[in-house]
């Protein structure tokens, strides 16, 4: 029980000569609110891709709740509760909001393997999907195709899709990216209200969000961990200040 929610050991990813992940030793504690920050191209998204199995590491190990998952497929990792969102919304754009979430729950429940009964007969799944949309303020748009919604709303669906899978570890890749400033509040609220037992790692450029939510912060630069610490430690760190010179308000 004492093993951290997620751990990477000496994780390396090279594309030819380019090292996008350089010996990353990272620990996400259970129930953590952990931010991963760093300049553009630092390798943050690559790290999420490695952990979730989109990319295969060149070397190193990934552990989920103490068990090695390095060789598991993407879907096996999801089944074990490791769930991510995308920096650029990756939704079923032409399908309705409700259907997007329904598809995720149907996968979680294994109903999507049922090719005999109509999808509509799995009514509990549809109801659960609807109930998930309500607190996210998406219920009124349940039957509209995703593409008709503003991008800020689409970012909420992105989070809804992840929550539909009942994650134990949630990796949020820039949840507020591309959202107009007056709409980021709703996304921050949603992140703050996430169930406490979910371990959350979020990548974010918006320092206000980072310092409001994060209990720990890891700074990634050129594929390697520069420093890790509490928000106060990170704010005072001279190396971080150098990297973020003029970028951060803190």
């Amino acid at each position: 029980m004492s093993a951290p929610a997620l751990e990477t050991k000496f994780l390396v990813k090279r594309f030819g000569a380019l090292v996008v992940s350089n010996d990353i030793n990272f620990t996400l504690e259970r129930g953590a609110r952990h931010a991963l920050i760093g300049p553009n191209g630092a390798g943050k998204t690559s790290f999420v891709n490695l952990v979730t199995g989109v990319l295969t590491p060149s070397s190193g190990e990934i552990c989920l709740a103490g068990e090695t998952i390095t060789d598991l497929s993407r879907e096996q990792r999801v089944k074990r509760g490791l769930v991510r969102t995308f920096q650029i919304s990756a939704l079923f754009k032409r399908l309705t909001v409700l259907e997007n979430v329904t598809l995720a729950i149907a996968e979680r429940e294994g109903a999507a393997n049922d090719l005999l009964r109509p999808a509509g007969h799995h009514r509990a799944i549809i109801e659960e999907a609807y109930d998930l949309l309500v607190p996210l303020g998406l219920a009124n748009e349940a039957l509209r195709p995703v593409t008709e919604l503003a991008y800020g709303r689409q970012r909420m669906i992105e989070i809804a899709m992840a929550l539909a899978l009942k994650p134990k570890v949630l990796l949020l890749d820039e949840p507020a990216a591309g959202v107009p400033p007056r709409e980021t509040g709703a996304i921050i609220d949603t992140i703050e209200r996430l169930p406490a037992d979910i371990a959350v790692l979020f990548i974010e450029h918006d320092m206000e969000l980072v310092f409001r939510v994060a209990q720990r912060i890891t700074v990634l630069v050129q594929g390697g961990v520069l420093v890790e610490g509490t928000p106060a430690q990170i704010a005072d760190d001279p190396k971080v200040r150098q990297v973020y010179l003029g970028e951060s308000k803190h």
Binding site: V83, K93, D114, G120
Partner: protein, 335 residues
Amino acid sequence: MTDLSSRDLMGDRKVVVDAFARRHRFKWYEAIPWLVAIACYFLFENYHALGAQIFATILFALSLDLLIGFAGIVTLGHAAFFGVGAYAAGVMAANGWQEPFSEILVAAIVASGVGFVSGLIVLRTAGLTLLMQTLVVAALLQELANKWSSVTGGSDGLLGMKIDPIFGAFRFDLFGDTAYVYCLGVLFIGWLLARNIVYSSFGRSLTGIRENANRMHAIGAPVDRRKIIIYTISAALAGVSGALIAQTTALVGLNTLALSKSGELIIMLVIGGIGRLYGGFIGVPLYMIAQDRFSQIDPIYWYFWIGLFMILVVVFARGGVLGVFERFNQRRRSR
């Protein structure tokens, strides 16, 4: 305030969930193809043989729509399964096994086997590579049928097929009266199956794969396995279609495996509308009736006209005939 809005929300919940959960119910217009088919039996007595061909080809188109339209698996080699089914039924009928339904069953099993095995290989790829690989599978099978002439009859085709009367009572006649009803019946069963799949949770997940395979991976869907399953089912339906053509024409040739066979089918499906379950019901009769009329006049110009028609469909009628209907309907409703 919370009281009122939460009550509204509960009301909405039922309305929304109902609307969503009832999508699979039969709509009145889904009866049209069947009513038309029955009416045509009495109206066009001299065209029953053509009608039978049309029904069998609609089943073929339906099987392709499951792949291209619903799962987003684009293939140029779908005739492989049609041809395998045709040869399976044909070889049985030419060698003494003459009961039609068991031939169909065997055709479905053999074609699905070929679909499963080739699917394991080709479905790892996507896009142009996939197109080429499906094409290669069909070409290989065609070459095999050509070389293995002791069984298939090679380039002369498979002759001497004999089919028992259906249920031991209805003989396949020269005018195609029996064939018409027989093919329509099998198409109906195939359509029920396809429709059921499309509206199932499995079918919806195929739509998810078509729309965004990355997202399907991210919600934990076994994407590759799903693709292989639908590929196998689709191959079985295509095989049944091939068996119907073999039985009702008493002839199987190498052309059943040809690239042109796959290509023509795509054209028919595009004309009718892809991804709508009913594209084949419109595109196939349009194409085959036009072909029957015009190809006798001038086969070369026939291909010119069909080419021109394809361009018009792609430029002006995205989604084929059914797409035009849908847009018309939306406009009328939004008024």
